[in-house]
Amino acid sequence: MKKRGLWWIFGPVVVAFVLIGALFLVPFSLNHITKKDVREASVSFSKNVFKGEAVKNAAFNDHSKRYVPFFGSSELLRLDSMHPAILAEKYHRNYQPFLLGQAGTESLTHYLSMQEMTPALHKKQAVFIVSQQWFTKKGSKLAFPEFYSPLQTADWLRHIKKITPTDRFMARRLLQQSQIKDNELYAKMITKISHNKPLSKTDRKVLAVRHRMLLREDQLFSSFSKSSNWSKRVEPALKKLPEQDNNNELTRQATSIGKKQTSNNRFQIKNSFYSYRVKLRLKQLAGSQKDFDYRQSDEYADFQAVLAEFAKQHTDVLFIIQPVNQRWASYTGLKKEMYYQSVDKVKKQLTSQGFNHIADLSHQGDQNYFMQDTIHLGWNGWVAADQHIKPFLTQGYQPTNYHINNNYLSEDWQNLMPTTDNLAQFK
């Protein structure tokens, strides 16, 4: 080997570190997000987009199109012709949904996700689709690690000016998650919040550096996951829609597509879903949901945190309560009374605090072709949702009048059995 000096060996290493440092710390953006990227991202369900903020900010700052955040879970993935994203595009409405959520996203995840898009929520509109399946008993936050974003957590901490009961609740909640418990930096700061102690100046400086690094990482990598949902799924679906934005026409078309696509089973479940997920285990699934219970859950408190954030931002928000496929529910033994009590509990929590825009579809799960499968809105279900979404969003932002009641964060509320009397008495 040739004799080489130390500089020859370590020079490249030093240069590499300087370049990496520069990449992460330069104060200007290194990538450009185009309108097309944003359109793709709005229906991409990409985890990078969801966890990051670069693409979301680009979307909500777009002046040519009004992107409205649609929070939800797996139903958002059902991109059939009557899906809100497709209706809005087809009929050139004055809004376009930006879909935030997929299988496994629940209130806790959404709360953190909202932290980095507060300008998009502040005195603006949003749609929030609630699934009763979120409200299971303890230990249900299995998908949290998948959607956990250190960037959003940093945003949340940075935004805390005066510690509210919601912040303390959230701090305790996050400290139960191993992603946070095992991260010394966050665990220390979040423990302070949970003890109602403000962050020190040093904490804030550390957070600022951390935030910049994570943001740069997000800018560099969130555009990596290219999706082609727009061209592959949205564009073909557009062609199946009637030319006129007319409710009767839409219902007729939805019924006809739904009928065609649910031909292989008696539950009106989409054929592909039925053959792939249900058919082989049909016998075992009979009566399988008879012990399901959505009435007592820590999710009610997480949901309250989301409401508090909407109130803080004065967001004008429409809640859609999703039904279950009634044919399937009867087969699997899901208890109707339990289900409706849990819906009542959500509604009480909403209306008593001034969230009055509610599209309660929970009683329509037995209508034809309303659900695409067992628990997700489909053809006619989306048309029914659109009758609430369209007027709400075309009318535009209306000033809000929310009055948050922190008792909804309590364990008393989480564990309250939602009988009519109990609900009426809870204050």
Partner: protein
């Protein structure tokens, strides 16, 4: 509490290299900072086994006292006598903690696992058993308690090798490489660190964290309706096999690079194993320090023993028996699961077939050229991949769980 797992994340490398900087400067100027080196090593070992893993740390201390007393006592005995029974007892006692830890999960002795188990116990056992064997041979004559500890607890290799040899190690640790030599070692260290980053944090991440769970999932789904067999096993096999290599080779590169910075020329663990021309060649290139350990201390000794005691006359049979015993022991060492043992048997039988083929080839003058060589590499590669699929335990999950 701060807990640092070796080579786990960028933070570890920054802390490690900063801590080793004085050592490197010392070596560059011809001085070995022994005390500083020991303190740094102990601190890093402490940080590995603190917090929630404190019981592993306690087990390590107990284990070290046990081995220390054992090797010391045996060396004292060996100076006076050379009884076979005493030698066997000493060897057995040295392996005993490892045996208990390996049997514990299968026998459900949870208290044994928590009392004796710690990350890296098998690698420490390899080192200490080798010392007892070499003491019996007379190649190690003196017990130096201080060097024994430094050898056993050499920080870069504490949890998974490469497995060094005492006499080689002592030569390095008690001397200082000259400046030109040390500069070359630093150059190699930089190269190995960065190659390791590529292997472990890029390639192995893509294979093991991104792709493998997806193909495994597809295999599970598909197998559940096709009686346990599915074509998805093919991508599972190759993804797992390559991931195993890049993950472990990356780890070994870090260990070698770190020890180079400390002025110790640790042997390499991998040498392009997927270009092996036959199984024997493969074991000269894959996890080299382990396979050489097994070759020197199990295979060779077993062959000598069989010949000396004249248990088997035929030389071919002797080596075949030794191959299978050797590989089976390696299988058992991985753990008491059917798939590890099957993996060992697979390689033992494979080595015997390989030998038979080489003899046939020599006798019948089978043509040998570039194409036959490429074909041999292809066959060997796929045989190895099949054995890794077995080794992965995925079939166990697929069929029996």
């Amino acid at each position: 509490m701060l807990n640092l797992q070796p080579y786990a994340d960028p933070k570890y490398f920054v802390i490690l290299l900063l801590a080793l900087l004085p050592v490197a400067i010392g070596l560059y100027f011809g001085k070995r900072l022994n005390w500083y080196e020991v303190v740094v090593s102990l601190v890093f070992i402490f940080l590995m086994f603190d917090g929630k893993k404190y019981h592993e740390g306690v087990a390590l201390v107990g284990y070290m006292i046990w081995q220390w007393l054992l090797v010391w006592a045996y060396t004292l005995y060996r100076k006076k006598a050379n009884g076979t029974v005493v030698f066997y007892i000493a060897t057995f006692l040295s392996i005993l903690p490892l045996i208990l830890v390996k049997v514990a999960p299968a026998a459900n002795w949870t208290h044994v696992t928590s009392l004796l188990g710690f990350l890296g116990i098998s690698y420490l056992t390899f080192r200490s058993v080798a010392m007892i064997l070499e003491t019996r041979d007379g190649s190690i004559k003196e017990f130096n308690p201080w060097l024994f500890l430094r050898f056993m607890l050499f920080m870069p290799t504490i949890s998974s090798g490469p497995i060094d040899r005492y006499r080689r190690f002592v030569k390095d640790i008690t001397t200082v490489p000259d400046r030109q030599k040390y500069t070359e070692m630093l150059e190699k260290a930089v190269w190995y660190f960065f190659l390791g980053f590529l292997y472990k944090f890029v390639i192995s991440y893509i294979l093991g964290t991104v792709i493998l769970p997806q193909v495994e999932n597809l295999a599970m789904l598909s197998a559940s309706v096709h009686h346990g067999w599915t074509w998805w096993l093919v991508p599972v096999m190759y993804t797992y096999g390559f991931d195993l290599f890049f993950d472990f080779a990356g780890y070994s590169l870090f260990a070698v690079a770190t020890s180079y910075v400390m002025g110790v020329e640790l042997p390499m663990n991998f040498n392009k194993p997927f270009l092996s021309k036959n199984l024997k060649d493969f074991w000269n290139r894959w996890h080299i320090s382990l396979s050489f350990w097994f070759r020197d201390y199990i295979f060779m000794r077993l062959v000598f023993l069989i010949m000396k005691k004249k248990w088997i006359k035929n030389r071919v049979t002797t080596s075949n028996v030794a191959y299978i015993a050797n590989m089976l022991i390696m299988g058992f060492w991985h753990g008491l699961h059917w798939y590890y043992i099957a993996y060992g048997l697979f390689h033992g039988v494979g080595m015997a077939i390989n030998d038979a083929w080489l003899r046939y080839k020599k006798k019948h003058h089978v043509p040998h050229n570039k194409f036959t060589e490429a074909f041999a590499i292809f066959i060997t590669f796929n045989v190895v991949m099949v054995s890794f699929l077995l080794f992965s335990g995925f079939l166990d999950k697929l069929w029996f769980k």
